[in-house]
Symmetry: C2
């Protein structure tokens, strides 16, 4: 299993992904699920994946080689040549649908799952930062201010804290903290999600630096965050009024 969060508050874009893959409980390894599809002066395109590793890798290879031209007069299509993030999302969706179709055919009847979902974020040229959730079938939805996050993989344990604490006007510091707390909740409940995490922060303000970091096991900040949160949750609980129906007068 996997867990990845994409957050798109006004201040920028944050994507966090775990790195654990497993084929059964005794076959666990670390694998980078945060893929940089383009990174140059014109564009930054980041993709996080959950689901079948073979489909994901086939999709990434197709995107690297480029997809066939749409007519005889044009050249092969890559994320580097698409004029907008919307077109990038269409291209990535097309590659994913192709990869899934190819592999699902060989897996037919085996019961092995060829589903993949993606978080696709970034910007092209002078366009705004965008975040998409791409489904196995290649269709996608855009993350919007009312609910400025998207999740893929093992998402239920970590959703309540995002629902409660991430807003459109959250700062990037707040978004990173909420994201790490969401991972902390998930890790405690599901062994197939684990450290290290990969994190990328892209400020909407282009004068601010992009931050990339791998948060390793025993990371001092993450350990402290988890311990502090446990203490704060229990202190908060003490501040909640006791249920009036618990005392019979």
């Amino acid at each position: 299993m996997t867990y990845c969060i994409g957050m798109r508050p006004k201040a920028g874009l944050v994507i966090i992904s775990d790195t654990r893959t497993n084929a059964g409980i005794d076959n666990i390894s670390t694998y980078n699920k945060l893929h940089i599809l383009a990174d140059d002066a014109d564009r930054l395109i980041i993709c996080a994946s959950a689901g079948s590793l073979s489909v994901t890798q086939a999709m990434l290879s197709m995107l690297a080689e480029g997809l066939d031209p749409q007519s005889e007069d044009t050249s092969i299509r890559t994320v580097a040549t698409m004029p907008t993030m919307f077109r990038v999302a269409q291209l990535v969706g097309e590659a994913l649908a192709n990869a899934r179709r190819d592999i699902a055919r060989t897996l037919h009847g085996t019961g092995i799952n060829a589903e993949v979902s993606l978080l696709l974020g970034g910007r092209v040229g002078e366009g705004p930062l965008m975040l998409y959730l791409v489904y196995s079938e290649g269709n996608f939805i855009e993350c919007q201010p009312d609910s400025p996050f998207a999740q893929i993989g093992e998402l239920k344990y970590g959703k309540p804290i995002l629902d409660r604490a991430l807003q459109w006007d959250s700062t990037l510091n707040e978004a990173v903290k909420v994201g790490l707390l969401s991972f902390d909740s998930t890790m405690r409940s599901n062994l197939s999600v684990g450290l290290p995490f990969d994190l990328i922060v892209v400020p909407a303000d282009r004068s601010e630096p992009i931050i990339r970091r791998r948060i390793m096991e025993n990371d001092a900040y993450f350990t402290q965050l988890s311990a502090d949160w446990g203490r704060l949750i229990n202190e908060s609980l003490q501040q909640i009024t006791d249920p009036p129906f618990m005392t019979l007068d």
Copy 2:
């Protein structure tokens, strides 16, 4: 879907269940899932159910009629005649397995699920308060101090708060608050879990009263609890140190 929590801190037993059933998104009704199987001077036995309603009702009818005697010299077996909570759990498990087997046979090939899981709590005679999680197959596990709660139904959204804030030495007031917060997290994320909730609190101290309550929609305390918790979570987030890697010096 359903969500039910059973909590068994040192101070007693708390069971909370929602009342929403659905057969598709447009066929939703209110149904009591918290069943009192026995309530007299000698014993109190409570059962909360998640899963197939027809299997649950068949099981309850079998328990009400009594299960066949184990030999010719004995009488039919009911929860009222079992000498301990362990024997009650065995009987309930047997009834559940029988009901499921009967109904699963008629459902074979339809794709309709006949799974049911139960929380079974209470006490018999001078015995201690017990809480069991009973599976569809009729086998069961006992809730123990290391992790003094059990959940059935749509359990992932509401698990992190229980992991963080419910301990063996939690008071009954704390347990009820944590349980209601767990429901609040679940309701926000899954429409198939909803008010009203049924709640029963059985203090370990027999001199204290048993509390039963249905928490209705627009309950003033629950509304306040949810709002206060949202505020406290956001205040707590401000108290967490900002990530050190977010500033490049």
